[in-house]
């Protein structure tokens, strides 16, 4: 993996380096984004409990 290290970084950067860098830029510029609210848990929305032993 010696000669083509630059190639690997180029391939990896869109998936790893750039998103992390962009996250820091956003945090530094406008703060942490608002998280989507978790919907209230209703009988219809929940999946469980299930499995064993209940």
């Amino acid at each position: 993996m010696r000669k083509r290290l630059v190639t690997i970084l180029l391939i990896a950067s869109p998936f790893v380096v750039l998103p992390v860098a962009a996250a820091y830029v956003q945090w530094g510029a406008v703060g942490l984004p608002v998280l989507p609210p978790a919907p209230a848990l209703t009988t219809e929305a929940t999946a469980g409990p299930y499995g064993f032993p209940a």
């Binding site: 083509r4 190639t7 996250a23 820091y24 984004p33 608002v34 989507p36 929305a45 999946a47 409990p49």
Partner: protein, 458 residues
Amino acid sequence: MDHPRLYWNVHCTPNTEWVRFTPIEVPTDRVWNSKDDARPLSPWVGLPGYRHSIGMARHWHFLSVLFWVGNGVVFVVLLFGTEQWKRLVPTSWRVLPDAWAVFVHYATFHLPPEPDGFYRYNALQQLAYFSAVFVLAPLAILTGPSMSPALTNRFRWFPKLPGNRQIGRSLHFLTMCGFLAFTFAHVTMVVLTGFGRNMNHIVMGTDDARPIGLYLGLTGIAVVVVLNALANWAAWRRPRAIQHAAKAIVTPVMRLLLDSAAPRAEFGREDISPFFWPNGKVPTCDEWKALVANGLKDYRLRVYGLVENPVELSLDDLRAMAKKTQITLHHCIQGWSGIAEWGGLTTAALIELVRPKPDARVAVFYSFGEGLEGGHFYDSHTIENLMHPQSLLAYEMNFEPLNEQHGTPLRLRVENQLGFKMVKWIRAIEFVESVESIGKGEGGYSEDNEYFGELADI
């Protein structure tokens, strides 16, 4: 690592790889064959690891693949049969900005308040799980067979596709990297966001803080680690047993899915590879050297065994028989590939000439060349496989007589098989009922000594 280079092109010309896991530049002042290029791999990473253990590694790979695919099918059926898919499959594009918002929190080390993952995943979790199940897994399943000579050489349209064997191989590797990245992130988050409770979610299917899920989960992980150690031990101490287990479990599946179809794909002259990796040990015996020194005038191909008409054929005799040429894609078990033109007589024509007796099932091809550990190289094929139109005894490569590296005076082409089955420097052919009495009885030198599988359709 038997071929520690990954390419986007099918020709595998040295220095065209996009990544290599070897410090070695292919030397240009001497012959450097693909076995020279193999690199050792730590047994902590590989199963079984070390150098040129690809035969055993493939057995474990294919045995695991059958379990993995079967497990995946059960998972997907249960997923859609119980409406659990609603937890995994995003149903709105809103998931993308929501996942990004969660990612910004994680990436800057501001762990967001978690929805209870037992009832609902956050958007990033949902995307990650969805990608693992519905993107990475299908990609692994699709790119695996794209490296099969029996499959890709079957279809005439395959050469017209923009993809090729090396794209499949590279994507297969990157998919593995994706699974590793997913596993690392997943395990890290399971530990960081409430290990005991999360283990109950995963192992027990309950949402409480009892330690039982943790204990059972860690026990399961320990069992996997011990099994992996045992697999490594068995690979080195009981390799024949592993080979035979794979023969009993994997070979029937391979035979059913891949082996019966005749290869048909052909490439154009413009597709011929500028470089074709040499492989195998060029013969060192005096007999072969004398034949080559004399321009192969004294070469005689002996065809004998369970045949009505045993023959000894000179190169002129072979050339006088109907010649067939084909431009085909070669798949090496090590991973590299290349396209070349081959000219010679079909093995079907030879079979017609010698007329195998009714009890003959297999043809054994003996080489002048030696195997890696000494002794003459050989391999075998069923007569059925040799009747395919693309099965050749080639005396020509790229419109020239075969050179010393690639098998002069005669080599085999069986295009639905991997390269190690295509014996070079052929000395004689014997028709037999079974290979059990030949060599160590596994069907070929590589099968005898390197524990390769007898079928090499993938």
